[in-house]
C-alpha cells in the first residue's frame, strides 16, 4: 500500500448535536474560508490503491460510513480483511492520529467486515453514519483494562495523603492529569496505560520521600510541576480524536480533529526502547560499584595517557541488581520546549511531527536528550557534590599534588577534576597555584559543570548513538544547530563540542596529532555540508572562518588547542569509563537486519509488514534534507507500528 504525497483535509463542522457535517477538502485555504466556531480539521493522506478515481468523487455523497480505526499497522488491513480486496468499494486514508486509519465506504458488507475484524483483533474504532455529508449515528468500541478500577482506586487513595497547602494544588493537577491519561490510554492504547500506571507509582514514591523527609516540599513541587506539563501535553496530543472523537479536541490546531497519537506513540516507543537498553546496562550503578574495584588502579599520569585503559569495558562485569520501579519518561511534542529533557520528561519540537526525518528537525536528536539524563545521573557519582561538605572534601583531597587513587571510582573522579581544573585554567589563561586550589574548587566546579556535562554528553551521543561515525554525526548536529535562530555567538562553543566528541576516535593516536586531525576532519565535513546546502542558517561558514583563524593565527590557535586539550580529559573519561563496546553493540542489535543495505529496502511511503528491529538504523536510512510531510508520517507510522520490541538483557 502506497501513501500519496499530498495531504487532503478532513473537516468536521460541529455546530450542534443535530448539525454536524463532514467534508474532505483538497487544500487548507478552502477549509479556512468555511471555518466556523465548531470546526475541526486534520490532514489525511490517501492510500493510492484505494483512492484512484480521478477526479475524486465526493465520498460523502449519499449514504456511507466513515470509520476511524487504530492505532494499527496499516498493512494489516489489506493483509487480513477481505473487504480490502476490492479497492473500488472503499477508500482509505492514513492520519497522524491515534486512529491512524480513516475508511469510507458505502458498502454495508464492507463496514460489517471491518468492524468484525476490529472487534476480533481488539482494535478500537469509531463509525459515523453519513448522509450527504451530515453525520448521523455514531458507534464506537474501545478497550477495557481488567485492572482499571484498581488503578483509579490507587489514585484516589493518593489524593488524600497530602494536606500541605504548598503541594495540594499541584498534586491535584497531577492526579487528575494521570487519571485522564490512564482513562484514555486504557481505552485505546494499552502500552501507554501501563506507563501511566508507573507514572502514578512515581508520584507515590515522591510523596513517600517527602513524608520521610528525603525530599523537600520545593523539590516535590518542582518535579510534580514538570510532570504535570508533560502528562497534560501527551494526553491532549496523543488521545485527542479518540472516542468520542467529537468530544476530544486536540490543541495542536492543524490536528484538532484526530490529534497526533501516531507521532506520540512513535516518540514514546523510540524513547522507551533507548531507555530500556540504557536502563538495563545501568551505567551509573556500575560506575558507583567501581568504589570496590581496587585492582591495578593507575596514577593520573598513566590514566591520562596510556592506551591500555581504553580497553576497559564496564559491561564485562555482571549486571547490577535492578533498583526499584523503572521511571517512565513522559514524552511530548512542544513548540516552546523543542528538544529538552528533565529527569522524568522529554520533549521534541512540534516541527518534528511534520518533518521527523529531516536533518533539521531530526527525531534522532532525542538521543542527545537521553544522554543528558544519563549524564546527570552519572555525574552524581563522579562530579564534586557541592551540596554536601563530604563531596567538597573528597574533591580537595583528590586535587592535592601527588594524590594516588585507591579505587577506580576515585580514579574517574580524579580524571574529571583534572579536566575541569584544566578547563578553568585554559579559560582564564592562568595557572591556579596549588595553595589556592582548595579555595577555588567550589567556584570552578560550579562554573565548569555545564560545559563539562555538555562535553561528556556530546561524546557519549557520538560514540553510542552515531556509532562513532564523524560525518553522520557532524552533519546531524550542525543541521539541528542551524535550525535554531540567533546563536551565531555560540558557534565557537559548538565547534569545540564537535571537535571533542569526534576525538574519542583519536584517543589511541599520539597526543600531538589529535588536535590537528580532529580539526582537519571536522573542517572537511563542514565544508562538504556547506557545499551540499539545505541548512537554515549560515553558522557553518562562521565555524569554517573560526577554524581558518585557528590555523592562521598561532596565538588564537594555541589558546583554542589548550581549551581542547583540557576537555580531552573528559573525552578520555568517556573512553575509559563509559564507552562500552558491548553496550554499543546492544544499541544497534537487530535481529531483522540482513546482509544488504538494511532498512533502505523498506521503501519510503510504502506500507508493508516488514518488521523494524532497530529504530536507530531504520531512522538513519530514511533521514533526508527536505522530506515531505507524508514521508514524515510514514516514518512515524513505521516507528510506531513496525518496530518489534526485542531488547534482550545486556
Amino acid at each position: 500500500m502506497n501513501l500519496e504525497q499530498r495531504a487532503s483535509y478532513l473537516v468536521l463542522h460541529n455546530q450542534s448535536q443535530d448539525n454536524r457535517t463532514v467534508e474532505i477538502l483538497g487544500d487548507l485555504p478552502s477549509a479556512l474560508q468555511r471555518w466556523q466556531s465548531g470546526t475541526r480539521i486534520s490532514p489525511i493522506w490517501a492510500i493510492r490503491e484505494f483512492c484512484r478515481h480521478s477526479p475524486e468523487p465526493d465520498p460523502f455523497d449519499g449514504k456511507s460510513t466513515l470509520l476511524f480505526l487504530g492505532p494499527i499497522q496499516l498493512a494489516r488491513l489489506q493483509a487480513e480483511i477481505r473487504a480490502f480486496a476490492d479497492a473500488a468499494k472503499l477508500r482509505l486514508w492514513a492520519s497522524m492520529g491515534c486512529f491512524n486509519a480513516v475508511i469510507s465506504t458505502a458498502d454495508r458488507d464492507n463496514v460489517d467486515d471491518v468492524i468484525q475484524w476490529a472487534r476480533t483483533n481488539n482494535v478500537p474504532f469509531e463509525a459515523w453514519n453519513i448522509n450527504d455529508g451530515r453525520v448521523g449515528r455514531i458507534r464506537h468500541s474501545v478497550l477495557k483494562p481488567t485492572d482499571y478500577e484498581e488503578t483509579t482506586a490507587e489514585l484516589a487513595a493518593l489524593a488524600s495523603t497530602v494536606t500541605e497547602p504548598a503541594l495540594r494544588t499541584v498534586l491535584q493537577e497531577n492526579l487528575t492529569a494521570i487519571a485522564t491519561a490512564i482513562a484514555r490510554a486504557g481505552a485505546v492504547y494499552s502500552p501507554a496505560y501501563s506507563d501511566f500506571k508507573n507514572t502514578a507509582a512515581v508520584t507515590k514514591a515522591l510523596l513517600d520521600a517527602w513524608h520521610s523527609g528525603d525530599l523537600s516540599t520545593l523539590e516535590v513541587h518542582s518535579r510534580l510541576l514538570a510532570s504535570n506539563a508533560a502528562i497534560s501535553r501527551f494526553s491532549s496530543q496523543a488521545f485527542s480524536g479518540v472516542p468520542p472523537i467529537i468530544g476530544t479536541e486536540c490543541h495542536f490546531w492543524i490536528h484538532s480533529l484526530l490529534g497526533t497519537g501516531s507521532a506520540n506513540i512513535a516518540l514514546s516507543r523510540l524513547v522507551g526502547w533507548l531507555q530500556k537498553l540504557l536502563g538495563e546496562a545501568d551505567l551509573p550503578q556500575r560506575i558507583a560499584e567501581l568504589e570496590s574495584d581496587t585492582l591495578g588502579v593507575p596514577s593520573l599520569a598513566d590514566l591520562a595517557s596510556d592506551a591500555q585503559y581504553l580497553e576497559r569495558d564496564l559491561l564485562t562485569r555482571p549486571p547490577p541488581e535492578p533498583d526499584g520501579i523503572p521511571v517512565p519518561l513522559i514524552t511530548y511534542f512542544s513548540g516552546r520546549d523543542g528538544f529538552s529533557s528533565h529527569l522524568q520528561t522529554l520533549s521534541a519540537p512540534l516541527t518534528a511531527i511534520a518533518e521527523c526525518n529531516s536533518y533539521r528537525s531530526n527525531l534522532l536528536t532525542v538521543t542527545h536528550e537521553i544522554a543528558h539524563i544519563l549524564v546527570q545521573v552519572l555525574l552524581t557519582h563522579i562530579y564534586p557534590d557541592l551540596n554536601q561538605s563530604e563531596g567538597l572534601q573528597i574533591a580537595e583531597i583528590i586535587a592535592k599534588k601527588g594524590y594516588r587513587a585507591a579505587n577506580w571510582l576515585m580514579a574517574a573522579r580524579q580524571l574529571l577534576l583534572e579536566g575541569i581544573i584544566g578547563m578553568e585554567q585554559a579559560e582564564s589563561g592562568q595557572e591556579i597555584p596549588m595553595d589556592d586550589l582548595a579555595e577555588e574548587l567550589p567556584t570552578i566546579a560550579i562554573r565548569q559543570r555545564r560545559e563539562a556535562q555538555e562535553i561528556i554528553v556530546h561524546t557519549l551521543d557520538f560514540w553510542y548513538f552515531y556509532r562513532g561515525e564523524p560525518d553522520f554525526y557532524i552533519k546531524s548536529i550542525w543541521h539541528s544547530w542551524c535550525a535554531i535562530p540567533g546563536i551565531e555567538d555560540r558557534v565557537p562553543e559548538y565547534l569545540m563540542r564537535t571537535l571533542c566528541a569526534v576525538s574519542v576516535n583519536l584517543l589511541r593516536e599520539s597526543a600531538e596529532n589529535r588536535f590537528p586531525a580532529a580539526l582537519r576532519g571536522v573542517r572537511d565535513t563542514l565544508k562538504s555540508l556547506k557545499a551540499e546546502g539545505g541548512v537554515l542558517s549560515d553558522y557553518i561558514s562562521i565555524a569554517l572562518e573560526h577554524i581558518d583563524r585557528i590555523e592562521r593565527d598561532s596565538d588564537s590557535g594555541k589558546d583554542f588547542e589548550r581549551q581542547y586539550s583540557a576537555r580531552l580529559l573528559l573525552v578520555r573519561l568517556v573512553g575509559i569509563f563509559l564507552a562500552s563496546d558491548r553496550l554499543a553493540a546492544k544499541l544497534f542489535s537487530d535481529r531483522h537486519v540482513g546482509k544488504g543495505s538494511g532498512y533502505e529496502s523498506k521503501q519510503t511511503l510504502e506500507y508493508d509488514q516488514q518488521p523494524i528491529g532497530n529504530p536507530l538504523s531504520f531512522f538513519r536510512a530514511h533521514l533526508k534534507n527536505d522530506p515531505g510531510e507524508s514521508e514524515s508520517l510514514w516514518v512515524l507510522h513505521c516507528l510506531a507500528f513496525d518496530m518489534v520490541a526485542d531488547n534482550d538483557s545486556v
Binding site: A79, E80, D581, R582, A585, K586, V593
Partner: protein
C-alpha cells in the same frame, strides 16, 4: 510463511487453473512429493520471466514449485526467490485471507538453542553484521563443523547481528559423532524466513522438516507466528 488462522488451506484452494486477473499467472497441481503428507509439487505458469531464461524466450514461463502446507504455516520452495515472491503476491495474496506473511526467524535464539550439547542440531555456518561502534569491521562469516564451539564465536558473538546460519545434525540416534560430519549442512536459514536447501531426495526432505520442527518447537520464529505443540506443525 505463517498466518494467524487455523483454517486449513487445501490443495484445491491453491490450485489456480485460470488467472485471477487478466494475463496473470496460473498454478497447477502436478503430484505429491516424496510421498510425504502435505508436500505437493505445482507448476507455476508466469507471464513474466522470473528465472534465468534467455532474453529471447517467450512467455509463458514455467517453474516447478514445492509447497509444504501446515495448518498455519507454509513453506514455498522454488528454484529462485523471485519465483516464490511472485507466487505469493500474485496468487496467494489474492485468494487467502488473512494473508500469509514471511515468518522472520530469530537467528540469535536459534544459535543459542543449537549451542547446547543435547541439541539435535548444530551450526555449520554463520553470517553477521558488526553492531558495535565504528566501521573498522562490517561483516563476519564463520564456517565449520560446529561453529558455536569456536573461541572466536564465544568471545565475540555479542558484537554481531547474525542474519543467517547453516544448520546440520549434531546427534544421530541421540548420540554425537566422533568424526567430522560428512553430511554437513541440511539447510541455511535467514532471519527474514528465507530458507535454502539442496532438495535431492526424500531423506533430505525429511531432515529439512525435522529442522523446521526444531525451529518452531524452540519458538525461534517471530512471536506472532502461531505455534502448536503437535509434532505435525508443518
Amino acid at each position: 510463511m505463517a498466518r494467524a488462522s487455523e483454517e486449513e488451506v487445501s490443495r484445491d484452494l491453491l490450485e489456480t487453473p485460470k488467472p485471477l486477473v487478466s494475463g496473470g499467472p496460473t498454478l497447477k497441481f502436478v503430484e505429491s512429493a516424496y510421498a510425504i503428507r502435505r508436500w505437493d509439487i505445482f507448476t507455476l505458469r508466469s507471464p513474466i520471466r522470473l528465472g534465468e531464461e534467455a532474453e529471447t524466450a517467450k512467455p509463458p514461463f514455467e517453474y516447478e514449485v514445492y509447497i509444504v502446507r501446515g495448518l498455519s504455516k507454509f513453506v514455498v520452495l522454488a528454484p529462485r526467490r523471485r519465483v516464490a515472491d511472485y507466487l505469493i503476491q500474485q496468487i496467494f495474496d489474492r485468494k487467502i485471507y488473512p494473508h500469509f506473511r514471511k515468518a522472520p526467524i530469530n537467528i540469535h535464539k536459534l544459535i543459542q538453542k543449537c549451542e547446547l550439547a543435547d541439541s539435535e542440531f548444530l551450526v555449520t555456518s554463520l553470517h553477521g553484521r558488526f553492531s558495535g561502534a565504528g566501521r573498522a569491521l562490517r561483516i563476519m562469516s564463520l564456517y565449520g563443523d560446529d561453529v558455536t564451539d569456536s573461541i572466536i564465536f564465544r568471545q565475540h558473538n555479542e558484537l554481531f547481528n547474525f542474519f543467517s546460519c547453516g544448520v546440520g545434525r549434531r546427534l544421530y540416534s541421540g548420540l554425537p559423532r566422533l568424526r567430522p560430519n560428512e553430511e554437513g549442512e541440511i539447510t541455511r536459514i535467514a532471519n527474514d524466513g528465507f530458507l535454502t536447501l539442496n532438495l535431492v531426495d526424500r531423506r533430505r526432505a525429511t531432515e529439512f522438516l525435522f529442522v523446521l520442527s526444531f525451529v518452531l518447537r524452540n519458538r525461534c520464529a517471530e512471536s506472532w507466528v502461531p505455534v502448536d505443540d503437535s509434532p505435525d506443525q508443518l
